[in-house]
Symmetry: C2
Subunit: 340 residues, 2 copies
């Protein structure tokens, strides 16, 4: 049976249910405006490990374990993990989830990874290929700066367009909803991104790199389903920050779509720039993942928002391609959540 | 409807069909024992580009384009690309497939990526989430040595346990089989790997790192489906090489499974060590991908082999984790192909 819609979207006949969610946040994130919403605050940037990478692995392990526990399940009840991170060869994931001993699909969509992981997880569940799936991702400020820009000890200057990589990990357990349940959150639709390159070569301006990819997915999503922008209570991008937000809203306006009244960006919400000196906003896979699992899903459970289009955004930045003079393309993955 | 079997496998009720396949190989691969089987030989290690990474991107673009063309399709007929590579942040993929303008799922399973890409591709097609999917991957000797070991210009010594990264790219187009067709190759079953770590810390002995992961998938596959090892005409690992092969066969024998008579490793087949000085065998995502798309599928079309268990193997090597003193875990993805 055909489940695809329009040019690049899927509509789930039986929306997979978010059985549980977990958010692990670092100290700086806890001090930000969303601090009260996170499940666990990890005060130690090393998480008791010996390196930032090891710390990030521990964040993933904690997030997956907590989500599984909150669903009343054990690791052996989970059929697949769908996970990825920003580090080369997904080492935070590989080392983090190893002890859980669950078959894994490693995915990479830069900071849009949570959207990709939830899309594949939802397909596995709705298609009958799995009963329970964990979708998760992580990022770490120290590890990301070391991987992509400068080691922290250099103390390099950050321009105002730069974003601050969120330290944390977010996870959801996906499964079928109980037959008689109501008030649960389901994944109703997804729209998958393409690699979009507007030729931007500034690794300190990720928002501008990603905005065209977010535009591409939001525009395609609304077009594929024939939905008006105000169908959703919130349209939430991952980590465009202030620079990327303005570009996105302008691009959509040029197509006659005004989402400014119901638009939100996780990167803008998660830090208070004036207090925390984070500049354009938060970023990293965990930025959208913990804002979703900590804040957005809580708003939905309280029925403040009933329909949310979650659009995490990724800048496909690599030091190798960047140092060879290449641009930084973007990608984005749209996941429509509804209170059922 | 439940489509999962045993602990970690899927049986496809309507096996997705391999509509076409393409193999692009480098010069050294063309000079090896399988040289005559590849669709296209790329003599220039730069593929007309300016860097090894750009060359690898071009290999992916060529492989995807050729597979799409051989299926009588155009890029706009393909609903999703599922692709990945060995380089940090999947840059060969991102830059390679951009011009095709197809929604993409980026995946990472190290050298097992072709198995993961085909698994997700098969699920998308059989589940009704896509009509046509391209699964592909690539690797490049120069890019991989630079990323993981030493730049080629250093001329460092390679121990006999080392493998030689294959330069090339392999792609398949997956879709539904025509209703009346016969003699087509279908993906009948898949078994998904876990991250397996036996604590090996030698980046020059990838075979030993990956053998336990291959064992884990082959043993689970045969157990989940209750199949005897001789059910398959060939059980084909990705790039264990001579060292990994011996470990794998020993581990399976200890469980009472003897696959030595129908076992093959793409890494052992693709080069002639005595003539080509490649040591333990070929490796890299392209090793299994082009051996599959060039050689194995051709053998199946000629009905020499009717049932094949394809088990590409990946070593989750990263210079960051490796230099921090960590081991190199492995992962593997099993895909059972049958002539229908």
């Amino acid at each position: 049976m055909k489940k695809y819609v329009g040019k690049r979207s899927i509509e789930f006949e039986k929306p997979p249910c978010i059985l549980s969610e977990a958010s692990i946040a670092g100290k700086k994130e806890a001090e930000g405006p969303l601090g009260e919403y996170f499940d666990v605050i990890e005060e130690d940037p090393m998480c008791g490990g010996k390196s930032w990478e090891e710390a990030e692995s521990r964040l993933q392990e904690k997030a997956a374990s907590l989500a599984i526990q909150k669903a009343g399940l054990k690791p052996q009840d989970i059929r697949y993990l769908v996970s990825g991170d920003l580090l080369g060869q997904l080492i935070a994931t590989s080392f983090g989830i190893m002890s859980l001993d669950i078959p894994m699909f490693g995915v990479y969509g830069a900071c849009s990874t949570m959207g990709e992981a939830m899309t594949i997880g939802a397909i596995l569940v709705e298609g009958g290929y799995a009963d329970k799936v964990v979708s998760l991702t992580s990022s770490h400020f120290g590890g990301a700066e070391k991987q992509f820009r400068f080691p922290l000890a250099y103390g390099n200057q950050r321009p105002l367009s730069a974003t601050w990589t969120v330290t944390g990990s977010g996870a959801v357990v996906l499964g079928e909803a109980a037959p008689e349940a109501s008030g649960w959150i389901g994944i109703r639709r997804v729209t998958t991104g393409k690699v979009v390159d507007f030729g931007i070569k500034d690794s300190m301006n990720m928002g501008a790199c990603m905005a065209p990819a977010a535009y591409d997915v939001i525009y395609s999503h609304l077009s594929d389903f024939g939905l008006r922008p105000d169908y959703y209570d919130r349209i939430i991008t991952g980590d465009l920050g202030c620079v990327g937000r303005d570009i996105l809203l302008d691009m959509l306006k040029q197509k006659g779509m005004d989402i400014s009244s119901n638009y939100m960006d996780c990167g803008i919400e998660i830090f208070d720039d004036e207090e925390q000196d984070t500049h354009a906003g938060g970023s990293g896979c965990a930025c959208s993942a913990i804002t979703l699992t900590g804040y957005v899903l809580r708003k939905m459970k309280k029925k403040e928002w009933k329909k949310v289009l979650f659009v995490p955004t990724g800048a496909l930045l690599s030091t190798v391609s960047f140092n060879e003079g290449n641009s930084v393309p973007g990608i984005s993955h749209g996941v429509a959540l509804e209170l059922m």
